[in-house]
Symmetry: C2
Subunit: 428 residues, 2 copies
């Protein structure tokens, strides 16, 4: 398995990668940059950035929110934490984790350090993405249930391979890098709800860069690090997780978060968007979801923006009013007391239906004409690529305004870019 | 428990610490500095040091083997790895780990960063020492058996408290620091036999400094980090491990490694030292130990210095010849082929005796007078403090020569020193 992974990591060639995979990876890169740029003033971003800025050192890689370069390990730590600060980045359900925040934070830092081409960076990022998701799937649900944050643990191994590739590791060094990652990888789910959650993404990115740097410098390590890690961390070790690696790219099925609120409300918002209704005409809304969500995101009358993110009723009111649920400031304290929004909110009824799929919602809107309009949405159904592109670009625009266009242009040009300079100039 | 630990960490006062505890802590500090200075050219020391030297940055703390200052996190990483490189540092059997390499590496770095007094540094180091050993005991043998390297995992928590104290953390910040440490702590026993083992000590020291820095900067975290960590890492959570904390100092029972070879040979060497024999007169030597050691350190005819460290027969030959088994260069390839040493080696017979205690040895030496001389030694019997002082100082002298005297003088003066400058000047 380690041979298969290191072989994949060393031999991947961008020109062999399917077009759809490339497109999705580019969208994830835009999405990552957007949530990072929008998150630079979050308290966790400031705390980690201030620490690494105070340390200073070698100008190898840029840090979001500061116009200076720092060592690659430091940039990875800060950018991983910053890009996960809003918890608005992509998710892969294959391994219940957030790949981009670890992958791009680590590989972009390592790529800057070695002066990589655009293609070399994209290849390393794709290695990190694929390996994170597949190693996460290999560690399995048992690992997650035992309390580990896949984003950080599986992510660390994935970016170790991506960073080691950029640093020119041979097969022996790449195995050593995985060994060093195995004794460095960490991250607990118990951090959810605290700044420790985004920190987990940062530490995973930094650990991967460090393991790669030390392995290339000749450090030796446990030859079977992945297995040693899995043995101590409730890993399921499901070998099927690596089936088709290098031919089938699981990156394609990453899920982009398109609303700035709890994931549990997303199917409802998507279903609602399929209906054309005039908020003035609405007389009642009924939302049916799996009952498990009623404990998660069914605050009936939220009073703060944060509570609104966990409120089906307020999410529906915002969407009916034409407010952008992809924009962070739609979830404001002020909107929670807005009379028109509260009127709409009070028309919404939420019911649990154990027959619904986990990622599905059924919405019924009744208007003054007494004719119920119904729609259904299931997040597990793949979104067509063209629609995904449109939606991610719109989200990016909501988050960072016109900068979104220039970043997207650079991301699209990346595979032909001899340096990362133009991309870097738009991001930092 | 967290309250008890943070209270202990914040309130410990050097003037309340028993004299014997102070003395043992000072001996451990000398011992740590000696093995670190002797280990600066080991490959793992060079690899980690080169990485942090290339990164450079804020001149907060010195690094063994380089005449420059670096950020505290970087110094902790390098010094932890360097001081454990020879695997010749102290051990605490309460938690099956090496306390000093993590404790002094982290707290000396943090102490330099804040310009601490000698007493403040000693207090923080003692906090780290006590907390590492007790948290290790609380995690228990189940944690060790599950594959975790206590030196790194328990050590990370211990030095988080020591570093947080130096940084002036209040009770809330200290709890947050433990929370951040819980999601950062790592280290696998599978690294034993590779450079990953000393690296584990370095990463634990760096993690502790980082967790303390971020908590003091206002990062929030899981409020019950220790319990979350234990739950995911096979922690026994034996509350008795904290009995008497602050009154009884477990630091006093740390074990100093006094021979530069496998721990399994030490009782034999101590038993032999109790006998007065002339190597020329010896006709046979019989060594009896618990049979488990026969698989560990019973190489009958070693050909390299490394193999000699795992050879009862060659260790006995070296000691009978009057060579210093506390000196690294006694375990040379050349000695393995020396005719006189090989003649003595071939007089030694090693037998397993299941009735022996794990840490005991029984040695019988017969000379030309045909009168057998017998002695017995058990490592679990505490060594009188005066003997321990003499032995640790002798070891230090073997390792670093006359520098040992100046370091020891500064260590003894430390509790009255207004700065760490004099100590630092002798170490780096």
């Amino acid at each position: 398995m380690t041979d298969a992974l290191t072989g994949f990591a060393r031999n991947l060639n961008w020109t062999d990668v399917p077009q759809d995979t490339r497109d999705v990876l580019r969208l994830s890169l835009l999405d990552w940059a957007s949530v990072a740029l929008a998150g630079v003033e979050e308290p966790v971003s400031v705390a980690v950035r201030d620490m690494v800025l105070a340390e200073g050192g070698l100008g190898a890689a840029y840090v979001f929110g500061a116009d200076v370069t720092l060592p690659a390990r430091a940039a990875a730590l800060a950018n991983g934490s910053t890009s996960h600060a809003l918890d608005y980045d992509d998710t892969h359900f294959l391994h219940i984790g957030h790949p981009s925040v670890v992958v791009f934070s680590a590989t972009l830092a390592a790529a800057q350090q070695v002066g990589a081409t655009g293609q070399a960076f994209l290849e390393a990022a794709l290695v990190g993405f694929e390996a994170s998701c597949r190693i996460g799937a290999w560690l399995g649900r048992s690992h997650y249930e035992a309390g580990f944050h896949m984003t950080a643990t599986a992510g660390c191994f994935g970016v170790t391979l991506g960073a080691a590739r950029l640093l020119g590791a041979d097969a022996v060094q790449m195995r050593a890098a995985l060994g060093l990652a195995s004794t460095r990888a960490s991250g607990l789910k118990a951090q959810f709800g605290s700044m420790g959650k985004p920190y987990n993404a940062g530490l995973a990115a930094a650990n991967g860069v460090e393991a790669a740097l030390l392995a290339v410098a000749g450090m030796t390590s446990d030859a079977d690090g992945l297995a040693s890690f899995a043995a101590g961390h409730a890993g399921a070790m499901d070998a099927a997780a690596f089936d088709g690696m290098g031919q089938v790219f699981v990156t394609e099925t990453v899920s982009h978060k398109l609303h700035a609120c709890c994931h549990g409300t997303h199917a409802t918002l998507e279903a609602l968007a399929l209906l054309e209704v005039d908020a003035q005409e609405v007389t009642s809304v009924s939302v049916a979801v799996h009952p498990r969500w009623l404990k998660v995101c069914n605050k009936p009358a939220p009073t703060t923006g944060l509570e609104a993110k966990f409120s089906y009723r307020m999410c529906v009111a915002l969407a009916l009013s034409g407010l952008d649920t992809g924009a962070l400031d739609s979830f404001s304290d002020a909107n929670c007391t807005d009379a028109d929004l509260c009127r709409l909110r009070d028309l919404v009824r939420v019911v649990g239906d154990a027959g619904m799929a986990d990622g599905a919602a059924h919405v019924t809107v009744t208007c003054h004409d007494d004719m119920p309009r119904q729609s259904r949405y299931d997040l597990d159904q793949p979104m067509p690529l063209e629609m995904r592109r449109k939606r991610v670009l719109a989200k990016s625009g909501s988050l960072i305004g016109p900068q979104s266009q220039t970043v997207w242009q650079q991301v699209q040009d990346l595979e032909r870019s001899r340096t990362l300079d133009s991309l870097i100039a738009t991001l930092f």
